[in-house]
Amino acid sequence: MFWWGDKTMRDKILYFLGAAAVLLIARNIYVISGLPGEEAQGAIFKIIFFHVPLAITALTCGTVACVASILYLVKKEMKYDALAVSVTEVGLAFLAGNLITGSIWARIIWGVWWAWDVRLTSALVCWILYASYLMIRHAVEEPTQRAKLAAVVSIFAFIDVPIVILSIRLFRTQHPGPVFFSSTGSFPHDWSMIMMWNLFAMLMLGTVMTMIRLRQEEVQREIDSLRRLAHAF
């Protein structure tokens, strides 16, 4: 274990969290595969154990991105910008996972890959909003200007999400209603526990991915400043 000694405390935590997240997901997959199929839907129903945690994790990422963006505009410290971009990229990946799992489920239960239903449309609009956040980042070269513009877009996007959801709810819906935390749901208690464990695993995975991405941002900034220094001479 000679390489372990050079790692900083933060790296050690990162490795530990990453390993724990992977182990936990493996354990959850094992438990979920052992469950019986649902009465009406059969085995495909189990996709919900991933579908919902992915959505909640993505939503959490969006919230963190908005807070980080506001903090950047107030304090003008680059670390908040780095956090915002890292967490947005990770959230976008989780939201993509949510859309894909939903699409697979819809193909089998509804018979179509996609329906223009309230939640599907909101999720897609949300994904496009945050994708445009990343696009604007690519279009701006100068770091402080990039951080500033991206922060404004991120705040706009976060405000738009509830309005989009509300507007499409006015329009039409065919998505199944919520089965957790609601009185109409009929989800057995121990299944809810499995769901919670998977949500925990996904959040942990999201945290690890954000931390890795954050470190890339820091290294990138260090490289940039070294390059500037080299050019100065």
Binding site: L73, V125, I128, L129, S132, M135, I136, A139, V140, E141, T144, Q145, K148, L149, A151, V152, V153, I155, F156, A157, I159, D160, I163, V164, L166, S167, I168, L170, F171
Partner: protein, 228 residues
């Protein structure tokens, strides 16, 4: 000078510049006409379908022609460093922004009225059934388009691929406002009144809410966009 006067001065300056050059408004009006022409090939036209797709079609024309117009709003200030001079002038960024938005609003409304008349003639749709209500929807929907378009025009003014970025950014953000405007226009063109308490009345609140929320947020954030 008080805030309102500053806003009007900026708006008057922009309108005067536009009336003298006519570059954005000509391009935008011509583009609206071209899209109206293209749509006639895209759909099988009979009076019933016309009425059904009319409102969606119209708002797409407004949104497309609008971006062309809004793209110029801040980009026009780039030559001779006019934008730097404007930011340095003793005008608060929010007044500068609202002034520009007001000028864009007037120009966009002109284009829209023009497209509406042309549309009525070409597609044989009677759109005057509920003229007053339709004008209110037009006013509210256009303000949503303008406020988002102007802030993103300011955001993208200094970046590469400006012309490409603006449409990509504003259309997803405008989804709720465009949906509300399309739904309400559809009802009014068919001659069905929509009161706030009714089933479709939620769209009124959606449109007004969108306008109020985004006007407030943009006025707060525009300082970061323009000055930093």
């Amino acid at each position: 000078m008080d805030f309102a006067r500053l806003v009007l001065v900026i708006a008057a300056k922009d309108l005067r510049a536009e009336i003298r050059t006519k570059e954005a408004i000509n391009a935008s009006a011509a583009f609206a006409l071209v899209i109206l022409l293209l749509f006639s090939f895209a759909f099988d036209l009979d009076p019933d379908t016309n009425r059904e797709i009319a409102s969606g079609l119209l708002w797409l024309v407004f949104a497309f022609a609008g971006t062309l117009l809004l793209n110029r709003s801040f980009a026009r200030e780039l030559p001779n460093d006019c934008l730097d001079a404007l930011v340095a002038a003793p005008v608060p960024p929010s007044a500068l922004f609202l002034g520009k938005a007001l000028a864009n609003y007037v120009l966009l409304l002109v284009i829209e009225m023009l497209s509406l008349v042309v549309f009525g003639i070409f597609y044989n749709v009677r759109w005057t059934a509920q003229f007053g209500e339709l004008m209110v929807v037009l006013a509210l929907g256009t303000w949503a388009l303008t406020i988002m378009g102007t802030i993103f025009s300011a955001l993208t003014v200094n970046i590469r691929l400006r012309e490409v970025m603006l449409p990509i950014l504003i259309y997803p953000f405008l989804v709720p406002a465009l949906m509300a405007a399309i739904q309400l226009t559809l009802e009014f063109m068919a001659g069905r009144p929509v009161s706030i308490g009714s089933e479709k009345g939620g769209w009124w609140l959606m449109l007004i809410g969108f306008d109020v929320i985004y006007t407030a947020v943009t006025v707060v954030l525009v300082e970061h966009v323009l000055v930093g």
